[in-house]
């Protein structure tokens, strides 16, 4: 540790703190010049000796005992950390479940959105062109709706689907067919149109004889299972019950269409339609 201002042959300056520290703590790593100086300097060697004693005392300090209160706090801390970790895991699991559900539905989002746009557009156009609606009931067979190639010109009315009323009408019509079939064997297949013979009680649907002009509109893939003259909102109407050709003859699920007027054809207004499930 030579002062650069001093001539080379002058007595070197005392060691600085780092020099003393190095000589006391790790003399093997100390600069030879520092050790050489310390060997010939009473002040510096005294400081080194003093520091060596200090280092020995510091190294001798015992490890303090951890107080009981601190141990209790540590245990509680670990317990709390586990609770937090459990809550975090639960949160991640929930997030992952939501993400998976979203992923599962994601491929359907584009088609569903497209369908929504199409339905919206059709409804909008319908309302612009006279208030008729293309809304169809769930389970409608292909071609039952307006614009169908199979039933061209059939325009369902936006009367709202009254499933209970349709079911009631269809059940009555099918029972009539069943009764007729019982009386005249060989009518199975359903294409023979029964002609209701009475108007029954005042509370029952009012039947009138099917007009001679009655010819139920056909639907591809469906067979006419029954038909009946009905009154709907005070107007004459014709109910036609269709059975899907893929269903067995004993099926209880039919598709009922209520056409306006006593002599419906492919251009008749559809007052109501929908799947009906009857109990035998």
């Amino acid at each position: 540790m030579r002062n650069p201002q001093e001539p080379r042959d002058a007595a070197p300056a005392h060691l600085d703190d780092e020099g003393v520290s190095e000589c006391a703590f790790s003399p093997e790593q100390a600069a030879p010049s520092a050790l050489e100086h310390a060997a010939g300097c009473a002040d510096c060697s005294a400081r080194i000796e003093e520091l060596s004693r200090l280092l020995a005392s510091l190294a001798d300090l015992p490890e303090p005992e951890v107080p009981e209160s601190v141990l209790i706090r540590l245990d509680a801390t670990v317990e709390r950390a586990w609770l937090e970790a459990d809550a975090e895991t639960e949160r991640k699991v929930r997030t992952e479940r939501r993400r998976r559900r979203f992923r599962a539905w994601m491929p359907l989002t584009v088609p569903v959105a497209a369908l929504g746009v199409i339905v919206g557009a059709v409804v909008g156009l319908s309302s612009l062109t006279g208030g008729s609606s293309s809304a169809t009931s769930a389970g409608a067979p292909a071609g039952a709706a307006a614009g169908s190639a199979n039933v061209p010109g059939v325009k369902p009315q936006a009367q709202g689907n009254n499933e209970a009323l349709l079911t009631q009408m269809a059940t009555a019509a099918l029972k009539t067919v069943s009764g007729a079939n019982n009386l005249s064997a060989g009518a199975a297949g359903g294409v023979t149109m029964p002609v209701p013979t009475s108007t029954a009680s005042p509370s029952a649907p009012k039947f009138s004889a099917m007009a001679s002009c009655f010819a139920p509109p056909t639907l591809t893939g469906y067979t006419v299972a029954a038909a009946a003259a009905e009154t709907y909102s005070g107007r004459q109407a014709s109910l036609v019950v269709y059975r899907n050709d893929n269903e067995p003859a004993s099926t209880t699920t039919f598709y009922a269409v209520l056409y306006a007027g006593p002599c419906p054809d492919s251009s008749s207004t559809v007052l109501d339609e929908g799947s009906v499930s009857i109990s035998r």
């Binding site: 780092e18 520290s21 005294a46 003093e50 004693r53 005392s57 190294a59 303090p64 540590l74 670990v78």
Partner: protein, 225 residues
């Protein structure tokens, strides 16, 4: 790999696998040293207890990110020192900073050693108190290297500073400590002409002989061991 290190790693592995006891086992292996570092770095048992709690929580949360670029013990030391220095910073922001009072029962309990001989307590208490008078960075370096016995390189990893910085902080801290003890005549350097007897160091007068000619040679002898 040292056997202790293997056991530490095993505790960490089991902890990460969901073993509810493993982290407690790891803490039990290291809490004594962690407490010593926290106590001596913060300088008072209250902040040390808070720092140790912070450190345990930090280690628990960071266990998954432990990379084996250092020993588990070094990693825990680093977390403890950081938590202690953080507590010190918060304490510095408080209106009053309290240093340990050797008369305080809390301090006595915190530094109690059942094997302590009465004549050793004076030196220990003065040393402990002198440590608290060092600037925090020097104190942490001296505690790790000179008290806990970490190699300079490992202390550098704990403090995340270069080894040269650790040496420099230790050198300055040791010089200050020597000055404080010289003033208290605890360690009397040869050729120290005028020890200052008026320094505000509190000595436990009930448990230890008063600082004076009778105590100095004994301490000198202890220090020379």
């Amino acid at each position: 790999m040292a056997p202790d290190e293997g056991a530490d790693l095993d505790c960490l592995r089991r902890h990460l696998a969901g073993d509810r006891e493993a982290f407690g086992e790891l803490l039990a292996r290291h809490r004594g040293r962690m407490w010593a570092v926290a106590l001596r770095t913060t300088g008072n048992p209250e902040d040390a207890a808070d720092a140790l709690q912070d450190a345990a929580l930090s280690a628990f949360r960071a266990a998954a990110g432990f990379r084996r670029d250092s020993a588990v013990g070094t990693w825990l030391y680093r977390i403890t020192v950081n938590a202690s220095l953080d507590r010190l910073r918060r304490a510095a922001a408080r209106p009053t900073v309290h240093y340990p009072d050797p008369e305080s029962p809390v301090w006595r309990e915190a530094t109690a050693d059942p094997t302590d001989m009465a004549e050793q307590r004076e030196l220990r208490l003065v040393l402990e108190q002198a440590l608290t008078r060092l600037p925090a960075d020097q104190r942490a370096a001296v505690v790790l290297v000179d008290v806990q016995g970490l190699p300079v390189e490992e202390a550098a990893r704990v403090l995340q500073v270069p080894s040269g910085t650790v040496k420099s902080r230790c050198a300055r801290g040791r010089a200050k400590l020597a000055g404080i003890l010289r003033e208290a005549e605890i360690i009397r350097a040869a050729g120290n002409p005028k020890p200052d007897r008026d320094v505000p160091i509190q000595i436990d007068s009930k448990a230890a002989p008063p600082t004076g000619s009778s105590a100095a040679p004994e301490n000198k002898e202890r220090g020379a061991r």
